[in-house]
């Protein structure tokens, strides 16, 4: 796949420095599948209100949708890795936010969109409302030789994948060739990034252990509202930026806290990414722009 980066940026309505890094964990992807790319958006928190953190909370998601639609080369598909909506105790309001989110993202030109829940969407009702809108909360699918697995580590409010889903994951992996390219999509980190800040999955190590025999696995997740890259053995874990407000880097402050809106640099720290599976596989980060 040939993407003219400058044209991509121009048409996407974004600009500035773009971070791109080799996708070490996808090294095996250079084998035989057709080249393609997908777009990851995360942590849109539709329904959040707080001008100090994002005075355009009601418009940032739409800007991201427009930017994705403006990509010169269209992605094969788009994923949302959780926290589509901001939490609310009111079940009616939760459904209203989910409906509004769905309406906004229905404006994406590419209708091949995959959704995952975050704890803000699903933890207070064990995913009941979320499933009414988006179906199963964990599933797998294949695309051009790559096996994608969506793991739900939020419908249990205690941040557990749970025995039933782990058994399903094992059965799903058992059907794959050992060297199959595998991409895992989830919300929370599967490893203990910062348990003191609730940046972990209680039984994530069991999922990683199931994935470990497969040499070509990469994990994309959200939850921490910033880009972060980590290896557990040969498995690369890449977190995505948020589309509502960024959080401070893990361990950089005594407590987890959001980074206030900077009027001099609006939308700083927000964005989405493309993930290319060509050789070499590559992540490219794109900011949101007014």
């Amino acid at each position: 796949m040939a993407i003219d980066r400058r044209e991509f940026l121009k048409l996407a309505g974004v600009g500035g420095a773009v971070f791109a890094s080799g996708l070490a964990g996808c090294a095996g992807m250079r084998m035989k599948q057709d080249d393609f790319y997908f777009v990851q958006l995360s942590d849109t928190h539709w329904g959040f209100k707080g001008d100090a953190l994002n005075p355009d909370a009601g418009g940032t998601l739409q800007k991201a949708v427009a930017a994705v639609n403006a990509l010169a080369t269209k992605p094969d598909f788009i994923v949302f890795t959780g926290d589509l909506t901001h939490t609310t105790d009111d079940p009616k309001e939760r459904r209203r936010r989910l409906a509004e989110f769905r309406d906004i993202v229905s404006k994406l030109d590419n209708k091949n969109v995959r959704f995952m829940p975050g704890e803000h969407d699903a933890s207070l009702d064990q995913g009941q409302a979320w499933k009414e809108f988006f179906g199963a909360s964990y599933y797998s699918f294949d695309h051009k030789g790559v096996h994608f697995i969506a793991i739900d580590n939020v419908s249990d409010p205690a941040a557990k994948i749970g025995e039933a889903q782990l058994a399903w994951l094992k059965a799903d992996l058992d059907k794959q060739a050992k060297d199959a390219p595998i991409v895992v999509l989830t919300h929370r980190p599967l490893f203990d990034l910062m348990p003191q800040w609730d940046w972990a999955t209680k039984d994530g190590a069991q999922a990683v252990a199931l994935l470990m025999p497969h040499p070509n696995v990469t994990v994309f997740y959200g939850h921490i509202h910033q880009e972060h890259h980590h290896m557990t053995g040969h498995i690369a874990h890449h977190s995505a930026k948020s589309l509502i407000f960024p959080l401070v880097a893990p361990g950089s402050k005594p407590k987890r806290e959001p980074i206030p809106w900077d009027a001099a640099q609006p939308y700083k720290g927000l964005g989405f990414r493309s993930v290319e599976t060509e050789t070499p596989a590559k992540i490219t980060e794109y900011p949101v722009k007014a």
Binding site: T87, T88, D89, L124, V154, P157
Partner: protein, 113 residues
């Protein structure tokens, strides 16, 4: 035996007798949206304590990752967690069961002297 099972077994008194338990300091902590009371506790290094945790509203969690200690707090029940601090300093504890808009700020400190 997994850590959680161990904690539950310890809390149930399976691994230490009533006499030993009765000598250990008990600290009661009450959880409610979105705070623990007290939010700071002071312990002595090497001295066991039993935390008795209750919730006034919804299910909560108590997690002190630096001591690999966590327990779920179910409404209407007392959750007991035996803790033996093995290092001095100040450490965070958090609610690790998502409980609503404010969950992210729900936590406290353990001071170990």
């Amino acid at each position: 035996m997994k850590r959680r099972q161990l904690l539950i077994a310890v809390a149930a008194g399976a691994l230490f007798g009533p006499a030993a338990r009765s000598q250990e300091k008990v600290i009661r902590i009450v959880a409610k949206k979105f705070e623990f009371t007290p939010s700071e506790i002071t312990l002595e290094r090497g001295v066991p304590v039993v935390l008795e945790l209750t919730t006034e509203d919804v299910a909560m969690g108590f997690s002190a990752p630096d001591f690999k200690a966590d327990v779920e707090i179910v409404p209407g029940k007392v959750a007991r967690l035996r803790l033996v601090p093995d290092k001095a300093g100040t450490f965070e504890f958090i609610c690790d069961v998502f409980c609503g808009d404010g969950h992210e700020d729900m936590g406290g400190k353990i001071h170990v002297t």
